[in-house]
């Protein structure tokens, strides 16, 4: 069954996720497929110009807005600073103006940032900037719309959020912990204020806090998700590799209480995998959490259908681990860190979402530390699977349930055959190598033997003519001797 889910092609091709420059880090859609580093290099030049243009646009909008405001309010005159109440008044006038007001609001805040700081800020490319700003504008509009019903409290919240965003911009070069601390303090103080000063009931406070988180984090996401100052990106890559290396882990090893042979169950498993992969595409921590929660609910359904009883933690956690291994969700570490740093803490601490998130943290910790013992395997087995020398997945096609699709059965038979062929081929290559080595050894051996013999019996060639001549001249009796034998010469 584990094979089944592999075939479904849920896995996103890894190469699609990597930086376009091929530096090995992850790319991000928001950075046009580059990693943060390469992306910054890429847009170094266009940035300066963009900042200038943005500022000019902001100033123009501000002027226009002030003129329009002055003319509509008659003698009241223009206020130097923009306030939420002014905003509210304006909104009732005209629809189109709302948009410019929102823009102006934030551009005016960015103008308060010292010039140097602003230049160092990561400005997105023009096209991306526009695309992102459409979304942030939409979020801002919705936020303002939402706050309107809270009147004075809403006004105050908006003011505080503006201050928070400005401060975040100032802190861009600070450590991520400091930025997180700041946002967390902001959440805490705002929630307390809503309750104490504005006497809001706690359910409403939760509501408002969710909207605040959405507003703040939509705007801050690109600066604080997987920031360069941390090694989140490196860890993402390590986790990704680790999960890939663990591809052989089966649901039996983890004691996962789901039976994927039941179509509804396997359907739930696919949905759970899709949800957890989707998490990376969300910008707001709470939206990311919602993906984890949806994934968890699908897991519970799968367990409930299989076991017909409500899932306990001992059912849930192994299944979640299994889903994470199957899904290999992009940038898992970055997402967990981002949620931990910037999610509204009350949600993480006691809420249902927090429970599922905690289990995801557990799943990742388990995967990082996973060893032979945690899968009830011997160390040798584990090592062999890890090194790819063996695979526990080899399923016998004969053991398949009778209702399994014929084509699938045939495919597995073929796969089996192929792997057998592969084994034999490897054996042949191995033997051939051995033969080659034997031949080389034999040649070397013979050469050495010959050399040894040559050394042992050196070939001495002595001069021939002198002793023979002496015999001939001085010994007369030798005349009676028969003529010396002539050496016989054979051809070839």
């Amino acid at each position: 069954m584990s094979l089944k889910s592999e075939r479904r092609g849920i896995h996103v091709d890894q190469s699609d996720l990597l930086c376009k420059k091929g530096c090995g880090f992850y790319g991000n859609l928001a950075w046009q497929g580059f990693c943060s580093k390469c992306w910054r290099e890429e847009y170094q030049k266009g940035r300066q110009k963009q900042i200038q243009e943005d500022r000019e646009l902001a100033e123009r909008l501000q002027r226009e807005e002030e003129e329009a405001y002055a003319s509509s309010q008659g003698a009241q005159g223009t206020q130097p600073s923009l306030t939420f109440s002014k905003f509210e008044e304006k909104k009732t006038n005209e629809k189109t103006r709302k948009v410019t007001t929102v823009k102006k609001f934030f551009s005016s805040s960015s103008r308060t940032v010292p010039k140097k700081e602003n230049q160092e800020a990561k400005a997105p490319s023009p096209s991306i900037n526009r695309q992102v700003s459409i979304e942030t504008d939409r979020v801002s509009k919705e936020f303002i719309e939402f706050l309107k019903s809270y009147q004075k409290a809403g006004h105050d919240v908006f003011k505080q959020c503006k201050i928070c965003l400005e401060a975040m911009q100032q802190k861009r070069e600070a450590s991520i912990e400091e930025q997180s601390e700041y946002v967390q303090d902001f959440y805490q103080n705002t929630a307390e204020k809503l309750q104490l000063r504005w006497k809001m009931p706690s359910e409403k406070v939760e509501d408002v806090m969710d909207q605040i988180e959405k507003f703040i984090m939509t705007r801050s996401y690109k600066h604080v998700f997987c920031p360069e100052t941390t090694d989140d990106e490196k860890k993402d890559l390590a986790v990704q590799r680790r999960i890939r290396a663990l591809h052989w882990v089966t649901f039996q090893m983890l004691c996962v209480p789901v039976n994927e042979d039941i179509p509804e169950v396997s359907d739930m498993v696919v949905k759970a995998i899709t949800d957890i992969i989707e998490m990376d595409s969300k910008r707001v921590p709470r939206d990311k959490l919602a993906c984890i929660t949806r994934c968890s609910k699908h897991i519970f359904n799968a367990i409930k259908i299989t076991k017909n009883e409500p899932a306990s933690a001992d059912d849930f956690l192994p299944t979640l681990i299994y889903i994470v291994l199957k899904a290999n969700p992009p940038r898992l570490q970055s997402n967990i860190q981002y949620i931990t740093r910037f999610c509204n803490p009350s949600r993480l601490m006691t809420g249902e979402d927090g429970y599922y998130f905690t289990n995801l943290c557990c799943a990742m910790a388990f995967i990082e530390k996973l060893d032979a013992q945690s899968l009830n395997l011997s160390q040798e087995e584990f090592d062999r699977y890890m090194s790819g020398q063996a695979s526990p997945k080899k399923q016998n096609a004969e053991n398949w349930p009778p209702d399994a699709c014929l084509g699938v059965k045939q495919m597995y038979k073929n796969l089996d055959l192929l792997s057998q062929l592969n084994e034999r081929q490897e054996r042949i290559v191995h033997e051939a190598r051995k033969l080659e080595k034997d031949l080389i050894d034999w040649t070397d051996g013979v050469t050495k033997e010959v050399q040894d013999i040559v050394e042992k019996y050196p070939l001495d060639i002595k001069p021939k003519s002198q002793p023979l001549a002496a015999i001939d001249s001085e010994n007369v009796e030798n005349d009676k001797l028969p003529p010396p034998l002539q050496p016989q010469v054979y051809a070839g």
Partner: protein
């Protein structure tokens, strides 16, 4: 760590973790408490790993979140990730199973080491309907609980005994310690943002040394 503030309309949010060996009845206890059901095959509940209960104790509203934890041995190292920021822990053993009480002792040691006295501990001997098979002595367990600053309870999920009392008592204790926290905070300074959200400030917590957490920023 209780969300909320002073005043009549205050709502406390508490996180309680369930710990204990397999089969001691953790799931049964919490299902009995939150759904008043036991071994019911027609349970409409989708899951029993995270359950909530709203209570009103003397005019104080309490949102209780009960976290089941994976009890298998191979998940033991993940404990700190589960129980961080909990206000209370319920440590369950089966009175017919000596070993399960030993496990509880181990958990107590670990929790005290990691969380100090910030957490309200309950030691629960479950399955008292099986008293004839009791293998754990009442005196021993109660003496032990007292020695570690925990409270001891006897329950039966099957017969619905002692469970309401257990949770009610735990909530009262958690409210008390939350109030003590608030007072300390009030006396200290106006800086109210400390001692909250342990999710974030991991570095200065003792559990950082366990290196088991995936969320530590180190």
């Amino acid at each position: 760590m209780a969300a909320g503030a002073a005043g009549a309309s205050k709502t406390y949010s508490f996180k309680v973790v369930l710990l204990g060996e397999g089969c001691v009845g953790k799931t049964s206890l919490v299902l009995r408490y939150c759904e008043n059901k036991f071994n019911d095959k027609h349970l409409t509940t989708l899951q029993a790993s995270f359950l909530t209960k709203k209570l009103n104790i003397g005019g104080k509203r309490v949102n209780l979140a009960i976290w089941d934890t994976a009890g298998q041995e191979r998940f033991h190292a993940l404990g700190p990730i589960y129980y961080r920021d909990s206000n209370g822990a319920i440590l369950v053993y089966d009175i017919t199973d000596e070993d399960s009480f030993q496990k509880v002792k181990n958990w107590v040691k670990e929790l005290r080491k990691m969380l100090g006295n910030e957490i309200s501990l309950c030691i629960v001997g479950n399955k008292i309907d099986l008293d004839k098979d009791r293998h754990v002595s009442v005196q021993e367990t109660e003496a032990y609980a007292e020695s570690v600053g925990a409270k001891h309870y006897h329950t039966s999920a099957k017969q619905n005994k002692g469970i309401e009392e257990l949770f009610l008592d735990l909530c009262k204790r958690m409210i008390e310690s939350a109030q003590a926290d608030e007072r300390a905070k009030g006396n200290g300074s106006s800086q109210s943002a400390t001692a909250r959200r342990g999710v974030q400030i991991i570095d200065d917590e003792p559990q950082a040394q366990s290196s088991g957490g995936c969320c530590t920023s180190g």
